[in-house]
């Protein structure tokens, strides 16, 4: 099923009722509100600052995710989403202390989910495991971990990200004119 990104919303009254165009203040207000649902649990930052298990898991996981991300040349949104899933998961899950394999499995699963959400060409989970693979997981194990991640995130994978706001602010900076090349290159 085809699904392009972005896309403005027009004012045809076919749906009936009020319609917010994608760049309206109301739409952005709604985004800000919804963004709250896509953030790590309270206290996560403090946990990270204390340098607990989450902190080392996060560092290693992001390290690995970034390497694979650049290896496959994925887009910026799938990197952002993978880390968003990772943070939200780490903030709401009690990590087992003696399972270092799970950290790797979690990294693979977050990246795998993010690419399936965003990328047009998606490598198989087996093929994602290209760097420093101390453990290599079979697809069925990754599937199970993906399910656990999705369940923990309450199936809210379509996260509101900074990318969701770019169009709105570009429009504001440029007083409604299409962005110039110079402006776009700064973003």
């Amino acid at each position: 099923l085809g699904c392009g990104g972005g896309g403005g919303f027009d004012f045809f009254g076919f749906g009936g009722g009020a319609v917010f165009p994608i760049d309206s203040d109301e739409f952005v207000a709604l985004l800000v509100e919804k963004e709250m649902d896509h953030q790590p649990q309270r206290g996560y930052l403090e946990k990270l600052e204390l340098g607990g298990l989450e902190c080392s898991w996060r560092k290693d996981a992001i390290d690995w995710i970034c390497k694979v991300h650049s290896y496959y040349n994925f887009g910026p949104l799938s990197l952002y989403l993978a880390v968003n899933y990772l943070d939200r998961f780490l903030s709401s899950f009690n990590l087992p202390h003696d399972e270092s394999w799970m950290q790797q499995l979690l990294s693979v699963s977050c990246l795998s989910l993010a690419t399936k959400m965003e990328e047009t060409v998606v490598p198989l989970p087996m093929d994602l495991q290209v760097f420093d693979a101390e453990y290599v997981f079979e697809a069925r194990h990754i599937k199970r971990m993906e399910l656990i991640v999705m369940k923990t995130l309450k199936w809210r994978l379509q996260a509101v990200t900074p990318f969701s706001f770019i169009g709105y602010f570009l429009d504001k900076f440029n007083e409604g004119k299409p962005p110039s090349y110079t402006l776009a290159s700064w973003c």
Partner: protein, 324 residues
């Protein structure tokens, strides 16, 4: 549900809590209502609220891609689309499953199926396709096009518009588009029954092997359904792709560079040969029908996809403006 409902017609940003928190045990199964690509569909009742729902079971096998991307995409789309003529995904529940430990901490290792919980609809359009009154037809067509217009504005192609994917409720008053994403089946068992049914509504550009296509593919299917309403039988009931094309060309004329610039470059164009009458004679089979309806069908079933009418323009057509 938490949060406010998005205004009708706007992109739905509301998520579906407490999705994932509940298991399928929260529902009482009433009966099996269908078979999807990934598993069965059940009518069920929410034990707590008493609300009826349709549960689509997604059987997860141990495929190579982990959690199927197709399903992830369908969930993503359904959560994004919020329109009165598009089926609403209420939540996702998992089967309780059995603990499946991999060395000690087994609580979080479960293996199970997931269920997509949809609002309940009475039946599909297939059931009424061959016996609807002209005013009902207009009513269904309008809702179908409104739902489709909303999809197209949001850059979503349905790609499998057919009677079985259009659901009816409210005593025939409400039509909703359903089955997003699972529509394109990659059947593992090699059966192609599904394939044949879909074939009847497949546009010429896809049959000719185009890989670069747009909204017009859905409009062709809508045109076929519209025609089927009037004729009370399928318009192009082909059994093979080859036969499908001949049936289309027989009524719509043979495509050439003149009526469809670029057609000769499509991968399968060279494999087709003109059948004897190559002139368009689609209107001839509708000579006893409402001329506004026939005009609209004629504009939906134009061979060249770039000339085919859009959902928006179709809704503005004389057919919808004139009263019965």
């Amino acid at each position: 549900m938490d949060g406010e409902e998005a205004p009708p017609g706007a992109l739905n940003l509301a998520d579906y809590a407490p999705a994932g928190a509940r298991t399928v045990d929260c529902f009482r199964r009433i009966r099996k209502i269908g078979e999807g690509t990934y598993g069965e569909v059940f009518e069920a009742m929410d034990i707590i609220t008493g609300e009826r729902a349709a549960l689509k079971k997604i059987k997860l096998d141990d495929g190579k891609e982990g959690f199927p991307r197709q399903i992830l995409r369908e969930i993503k789309l359904l959560k994004k689309l919020d329109h009165e003529n598009i089926i609403r995904l209420k939540e996702i529940v998992v089967s309780p499953g059995t603990a499946h430990g991999a060395g000690g901490s087994d609580d979080y290792m479960y293996r199970g199926d997931i269920y997509m919980v949809f609002e309940y609809m009475d039946h599909d359009l297939k059931k009424v396709l061959h016996h609807s009154t002209p005013s009902q037809v207009k009513y269904y067509m309008e809702q179908l096009l409104k739902g489709l217009h909303y999809c197209h504005v949001n850059n979503v192609l349905h790609r499998d518009i057919k009677g079985a994917n259009l659901l009816i409720s409210g005593g025939g008053k409400l039509l909703k588009l359903a089955d997003f994403g699972l529509a394109r089946p990659f059947t593992r068992d090699g059966s192609f029954t599904n394939h044949v049914i879909t074939l009847w509504y497949r546009p010429p550009e896809l049959l000719l092997g185009a890989t670069n296509y747009a909204e017009a593919v859905d409009i062709w299917s809508v045109g076929c359904i519209f025609a089927e309403f009037l004729l009370r039988k399928p318009l192009f009931p082909g059994r093979t792709e080859q036969e499908q094309l001949s049936k289309i060309f027989e009524l719509c004329g043979f495509p050439n560079e003149e009526n469809w610039p670029g057609v000769s470059k499509l991968p399968l164009y060279k494999t087709i040969r003109p059948t004897t009458p190559t002139k368009r004679r689609l209107r001839d089979i509708f000579h006893n029908f409402d001329s506004h309806a026939v005009d609209l069908i004629d504009r939906m079933l134009i061979l060249n996809p770039t000339e085919r009418i859009s959902a928006h323009d179709a809704l503005c057509a004389a057919y919808f403006i004139t009263k019965m």
